[in-house]
């Protein structure tokens, strides 16, 4: 009996390390994505987005006519020649539709990427610096934030003209301060935590701490921001085209199509309905995925706090 007690008492020493409870298996690296995919809405969103991206990318290859070809009388209803009828100038609605998605997609993606990268860097640095640098960055942010996004784009377009690169630049630049604000908020909380102080007390380089310790702990709000910005980008880019400042005629573009054909809405709705549905579904799809990610994030946070 006394031997056993001696053994038990030594449990904590090197002879017999206590085993960990094996209940929790080693966690997958991308738990957030896996969790999000488990939700119905994420899958639906992903499905919608995939379909529309396919239409936009593959469309031009399968369109029956070229987008600038005249195939019939303007504003004629669906017929055997033109499945969805013709637009205000007599071109095939379906073909113009199939050609019209690419630009929206790549402009939105590029603008989102620009906004995210700049915003993340600015937000992280501001949160970690917490001194005059933070103030300067946030003031500059405020200046950019004083413009509603679309007005900033219009201001630039009025001076420089409807250039596609300009749209990417301005939409991206107006995303950046909004992203920076969110990331800074999330990072401020992380920066105060003891594991960051642990790294400081051993003298880790500042950039290593910001990108190695802090950044991985804000990936969740970051992913949500990516989804959100993408949704807004699509809306903004399509909106700019709709106002007539994106791709110019005679090019095919969803936003432009809506503009060109809205006066004939009562006569031939398809030329407006198709692009409207496409843009609508695309934004809803990306937002569903974003929502799925943010719900999975909330679930993980709840578990991690236990």
């Amino acid at each position: 009996m006394s031997d056993q007690t001696a053994d038990r008492a030594l449990d904590l020493t090197l002879e017999q390390p206590p085993t960990l409870i094996e209940a929790a298996p080693a966690r997958a690296r991308f738990a957030l994505v896996a969790d999000a995919l488990r939700l119905g809405r994420t899958r639906v969103g992903l499905g919608i987005v995939t379909v529309l991206v396919l239409i936009a990318l593959v469309g031009p290859l399968v369109a029956p006519y070229s987008p600038t070809e005249f195939v019939g009388i303007p504003n004629s209803p669906p017929s055997s020649d033109a499945m969805f009828g013709t637009d205000a100038l007599g071109r095939d609605v379906l073909s113009r539709f199939l050609h019209g998605g690419r630009t929206v997609l790549w402009l939105s993606a590029a603008a989102t990427l620009l906004g995210i990268v700049v915003g993340v860097v600015v937000g992280l640095i501001a949160a970690y610096a917490r001194n005059w640098l933070d103030d300067v960055l946030m003031r500059s942010n405020d200046v950019l934030l004083a413009f509603p996004q679309i007005i900033f784009v219009l201001l630039a377009v009025s001076a420089i003209g409807p250039k596609l690169w300009l749209i990417v630049l301005t939409v991206g630049l107006t995303h950046a301060p909004r992203v920076a604000r969110v990331i800074r908020g999330a990072a401020l909380e992380v920066v105060e935590r003891d594991f960051v102080k642990s790294a400081e007390v051993v003298g880790e380089a500042r950039w290593r701490i910001v990108f190695g310790e802090v950044l991985p702990n804000v990936t969740s709000p970051l992913l949500v921001e990516v989804g959100l910005r993408m949704t807004y980008s699509i809306g903004l880019v399509a909106g700019i085209s709709f106002l007539g400042f994106g791709l110019q005629p005679p090019d095919a573009d969803w936003g432009l199509m809506i503009n060109e054909n809205r006066l004939s809405l009562t006569v031939q709705p398809w030329s407006v309905v198709l692009p409207v549905i496409a843009i609508g579904f695309l934004t809803v799809g990306t937002n569903l995925v974003t929502d799925g990610l943010s719900r999975a994030l909330a679930g993980i946070d709840r578990r991690a706090d236990s």
């Binding site: 200046v143 630039a156 903004l236 809405l265």
Partner: protein
Amino acid sequence: MLTRLILRRLALGLLTLWLVSLLVFAATLALPGDAAQAILGREATPERLAALRDQLNLDEPVVSQYIQWLGGILTGDLGTSAATQEPVGDLLSDRVGNSLFLVAISAIVAIPLSILIGVWTAMKRDRPVDHVVSTTSLILASLPEFVIGIALILLFATEVFHWFPAVSLLGPGEKAWDDPEVVVLPAATLVLAVVPYISRIMRGSMVEVLESEYVTMATLKGLPRRTVIWRHAVPNAIVPAIQVTALQLAYLAGGVVVVEFVFSYPGIGAALVEAVGNRDMPVVQAVTMLAAGIYVGLNILADVATILVTPKLRTAAR
């Protein structure tokens, strides 16, 4: 002192606006080549070019151009439209009224509606009603305003239900409130664009408050449910909603642009789009400054309101 905090906030806002004016002015500098030529384009005759150059003080150094422009803005002289040769102020004054009317109607409907939806869905959280509202909110929040606008037109102004006019046929000088029918669809679009955000935040903060320690404590004190909700929960839940409401109202300043264009509503948004197309820089700059001013003003209001409503911040301003 509380006033010191507010004054500081105001000062910051003014600083921001000043920096904004620098940016807005810089747009003219970004015009390719000769500014006057770029603005007038094909309509450029030597006389008109000279007149425009004189008007915009293009022959003077940049700094003095800026000071003259800024001075003009501050004293109410918004310059002359390059397209119509009318004073910008006159051009916009009718339109400002219409836009304000539109935004006001939208806000009056949207804000109370959002708060009620937010509180109600928070109390019924996770029940079927909550799911339906949340999904609808999600969809509406994703759609760009012009899509919502066009969809409303398709539904209510064409064969489906021919209830409202699709396009505002107001003559120049006519006010929107003389023919209120014209405001319905544009306002509805703005309301549908904004309610999902505010109600979502309201719901979120209400849920958080309902699960807070002090609400649990109030329940454990045996207080009637009504007291717990309206005295303990809602006043704390509303604070984040104030920020979002102000931001959404500010956002409307931008949303108004597209919506007015969709419905051909004669407001400053539509004027802006027209001016951009014409490269009418004075008009563009004036509208942009106005929008920025409203944005910054609403943000200041939101911050001040938050401070006033949070006792901790109010008393901390020693």
